[in-house]
């Protein structure tokens, strides 16, 4: 089970002008946890006719590419003066419009290879399917268009309660004036719907020049509607929680069972037969009347032996 450390940048595009350079630059700027992202658009069922169905059956998981990893040698790390051990994760961003598309279930195995799964909801139906479906989604990445603002607020709030995190990228603010306005509108929309909780900030960097120093990013978040602590948490503790929840989802539900054993060579007066006798013992012990000696137990023992309850040989009480 991996855990995120330090500042996190959970979206560096794999379709990058120079992926290794971007990762090394992010690490040298101060980010310690990085996720390399690949975008996948699952085709909808309407477009596919009978011919395409055959093709789809042949290549099930081929829509979802293999996770991309980056090998960093210690010489690279030294060149960029990186001393702390980096944590590099893989992430996939899925977008699809048709909830009745079979591709999601078919490529479920391929999707599970990734450490983080992100999802772009195009409409209410897909959002609902993902929230209740078999695919565990960790991050919701919203596109700032009119369809997003019509998403049901109750669904967004319920996804928040399920520990799903919303992502706001900051590199569109750097590149394009139009995109900057859209990102600000999106962040204000999130502020209005869910009080800007569960928000993580990522870079969505397509080249090394889109990355910024972490404390600068914290400063920008103030303009996106987050408070000072929330903006620091957005690249810090919220991102850690997102990675932790993601790895917990991969592992599945944790269960534990409790077994109570009373050791056989314990003092006679400490053995209880049933809950009622245990309660009586505790009452008398608390008032201080009871002294743990063999002489007293005979006289002051108020515990009645109930023969109906079974006691095992080893002393395990069966309820």
């Amino acid at each position: 089970m991996f855990r995120a450390k330090g500042f996190c940048d959970l979206n560096i595009e794999a379709e990058n002008s120079n992926l290794k350079e971007s990762v090394l630059k992010a690490l040298s700027l101060g980010y310690q946890t990085i996720a390399i992202n690949q975008n996948v658009t699952l085709p909808s069922l309407e477009k596919s006719g009978s011919k395409k169905r055959k093709g789809a059956e042949e290549g099930n998981g081929s829509i979802v590419p293999v996770p991309v990893t980056v090998n960093l040698s210690s010489a690279d790390l030294k060149r960029y003066k990186i001393t702390r051990e980096p944590v590099i994760l893989t992430r996939i961003t899925i977008s699809y419009t048709d909830p009745s598309s079979p591709y999601l279930l078919k490529s479920a195995d391929a999707i599970r290879q990734y450490d983080l799964i992100a999802f772009v909801p195009e409409n209410d139906a897909t959002l609902k399917q993902v929230m209740t479906g078999k695919i565990d989604v960790d991050i919701i990445s919203l596109i700032p268009n009119s369809a997003t603002y019509q998403l049901s607020r109750s669904l967004l709030k319920s996804s928040m309660e399920r520990d799903v995190y919303f992502e706001i990228p900051y590199s569109p603010c750097i590149t394009d004036v139009h995109a900057r306005k859209q990102i600000i509108m999106l962040s204000h929309f999130l502020h209005r719907t869910c009080k800007s909780s569960n928000i993580i900030i990522t870079s969505k960097a397509k080249c090394p020049t889109h990355l910024r120093y972490p404390y600068d990013v914290i400063n920008i978040c103030q303009f996106l509607g987050l408070s000072e602590i929330a903006s620091k948490a957005a690249i810090g503790t919220m991102a850690h929680n997102a990675v932790y929840c993601a790895s917990a989802r991969r592992r599945g539900v944790s269960k534990c069972a409790v077994q109570i054993t009373v050791s056989p060579d314990a003092d006679e007066c400490k053995k209880f037969v049933g809950i009622e006798s245990a309660e009586e013992y505790m009452k008398s012990y608390k008032t201080g009347k009871r002294k743990l000696s063999e002489k007293c137990k005979a006289k002051k023992k108020k515990i009645k032996v109930d023969k109906s309850n079974e006691v095992d040989d080893s002393g395990v009480i069966k309820f």
Partner: protein
């Protein structure tokens, strides 16, 4: 002890640019012009009318130490972060600003620096 009101914030900014693309060599007044145009792009003319002083400009290491009023600090820092390029004589010059240290006292910039990486 009495509380002093710090009216100004100081920042140490490191610039990344390619000298070959520039039509002339970088000077302090050019740096001031670039920074003001970055603030104007993001926040408008009223925010860029606040005083911005360039205390020190080192051409070799491309470090600048600037002073801004306290109320304008967050805006200046955000404008410098979100700026990707500036226009000069018709040419688009890509510049990246990184604010390495910021403090309300100038002496703090001489102190030990935070090691992140």
């Amino acid at each position: 002890m009495k509380e002093l009101e710090c009216r100004n914030w100081y920042m140490r900014v490191v610039m990344e640019y390619d000298q070959k693309i520039l039509p002339c060599s970088m000077t302090a007044s050019l740096v001031k012009f670039f920074m003001k145009s970055a603030i104007t792009t993001l926040f408008g003319e009223i925010s860029s009318a606040f005083p911005l002083d360039i205390l020190k400009f080192d051409e070799e290491s491309k470090e600048v130490i600037i002073r801004v009023p306290k109320d304008n600090y967050a805006k200046v820092r955000a404008a410098l972060t979100l700026c990707s390029a500036t226009m000069l004589e018709g040419a688009i010059i890509p510049i990246i600003y990184t604010v390495e240290q910021a403090s309300s006292c100038l002496i703090s910039l001489d102190g030990p620096q935070k090691q992140l990486a």
